[in-house]
């Protein structure tokens, strides 16, 4: 396993989500900000002959391919992807290389553990988030692909089964109030980051309208009386959900 992992998209995550590029525009594995391009194999992929052969065999039109490590107690917060890119249809495929059942992808109020032995398709323009609650590290191959006939043929048999999906419960109001109370107590003691993360993590436990976790953080700071944080999180919500 390579050890030159890079941290990119820091504002979207808790820390602990690290990547390396296998296909990208420059061929440099540490060039990590995805963008539309005609990609080439990176110097890292050239040292991974089996993976290179696998990726070539798919016959897909790649935009970018990464290997991504999500450490224990690490999160990609609720967000949308591709917002900064041109209006071209593209999709994301995941191949789990190493995983555990505390790691999951959440979208649309449902939690999906991406298990071994399959390829998982995600539409990243829908609000989603990923977590690895208690580890060990989760490692995925992530392929951003342009939609073409080859992609459609490749993915026509990818389907979710009932067993893959855990529909999350909707929280009662008093449950959310309890979490808000606890967040304010943490803010009172000076633990702002933990207070915010405790609310962001509710996205992985409950089905809530889009952006609710950001609204809860706003409310916690409002109750604590920190208007500067209220303004800052209003901006953060816009960035994360592509509302700017």
């Amino acid at each position: 396993m390579p050890d030159e992992w890079g941290l990119e998209y820091g504002e979207y995550q808790s820390g602990g989500w690290l990547t390396l590029s296998l296909y990208n525009e420059s061929g440099d594995p540490n060039d990590l900000t995805i963008r539309d391009c005609e990609p080439q194999e990176t110097t890292l992929l050239k040292r991974m002959p089996a993976t290179r052969e696998l990726l070539r065999s798919f016959g897909l039109s790649y935009m970018w391919v990464r290997i991504a490590r999500l450490s224990s107690n690490s999160f990609l917060w609720e967000h949308r992807d591709y917002e900064e890119l041109s209006d071209v249809e593209r999709h994301r495929l995941h191949i789990p290389l190493r995983t555990n059942r505390s790691s999951a992808l959440v979208t649309g109020g449902a939690k999906v553990h991406l298990g071994y032995g399959g390829i998982w398709r995600l539409v990243p323009t829908h609000a989603h988030g990923a977590c690895n609650l208690t580890g060990p590290d989760r490692v995925h191959l992530i392929m951003d692909c342009y939609a073409d006939d080859a992609f459609r043929r490749f993915t026509e048999n990818i389907h979710l089964t009932q067993q893959d999906v855990q529909v999350l419960p909707e929280p009662e109001d008093d449950v959310l109030e309890g979490h808000l109370d606890r967040a304010v107590q943490l803010l009172t003691l000076g633990y702002g980051r933990v207070a915010e993360q405790s609310l962001l993590r509710l996205f992985y436990s409950y089905a809530m309208p889009e952006g609710t976790v950001y609204d809860l953080i706003l409310e916690a700071h409002r109750r604590f009386g920190d208007e500067s944080q209220v303004a800052a999180w209003q901006d953060t919500k816009k960035v994360m959900l592509g509302l700017a």
Partner: protein, 287 residues
Amino acid sequence: MSTSLISDLAESSPPTIRPLLEVVVDALSSSPRVRRIALTGGRVADLHGAGEIELVVVVDDDCLALFALVLDDLMTHGVGTLLPGWRENADGATTSVDSLYLAPHAGRLHRLRVRLVGGGLAEAVESREPSCPLYVADQVTAGVDSASGVTAEALTDRPPTAAGLLCELLVRLHTLRDELGVSGYLRGYGRVVEVRETLAQLVAAVLGLPESRRRWADLDGELAVTPLGRACRTALHDLVAAPVPGTPTDVAATVRTCLDLVAVADPALAAEWGGTLDSYRHYLDAA
């Protein structure tokens, strides 16, 4: 303004637990109401070894109860512990809180005991055993109204819920694994007895047995009443009849047996904690 002493610790020792201590100190010391964090117990002299990591966290007296209330959040979110704390004991005088956590670090689990102490009693607590300061706040920050209506109830013992007993069981199994080859046969036997006792109490709790009927002598009769109880009794019998685990493979088998029994006794609890239990099995090579 504060002084971190953890770097001093690193100069004298290159321990494997130093990065974990840094994470814990970073997580806890960001509050102006934390006065001091110290490493205590056997790991002061042996930072390379195994065994429990004991920390004393000294906080302002007037917000000890509030810290006790949020400690699990701090450890879960800030440190990434697997479980809420197993509140092993409280002294009844509401002067300190002991919580035991399992913290993943460098691919394995570490037992981390956090003792919250009010500033007024810090010296008395730390003077009882070896102590190595990791963090000392330079200045007292006054004027933060942190009481927030939280009473000393937060310091008292928690009732033995099924989830709490599961935390205790996982910690005890980890202790059993950690002490393999280190201690004598009788000590190992004692650890196994603790595991069995906790598991029996967990089964009794989830089956709703009255507190007065949870002794071993009562379990045969109490568990014989329902099919689920009889299944649990058979599994407990098999566990009690098994020899004391002597190898990691033996312990892995014991872990699987215990967690299988939990899944039989309380499927909802096992499902709710499914991800955590899967992680636990990975760390203990019992997957």
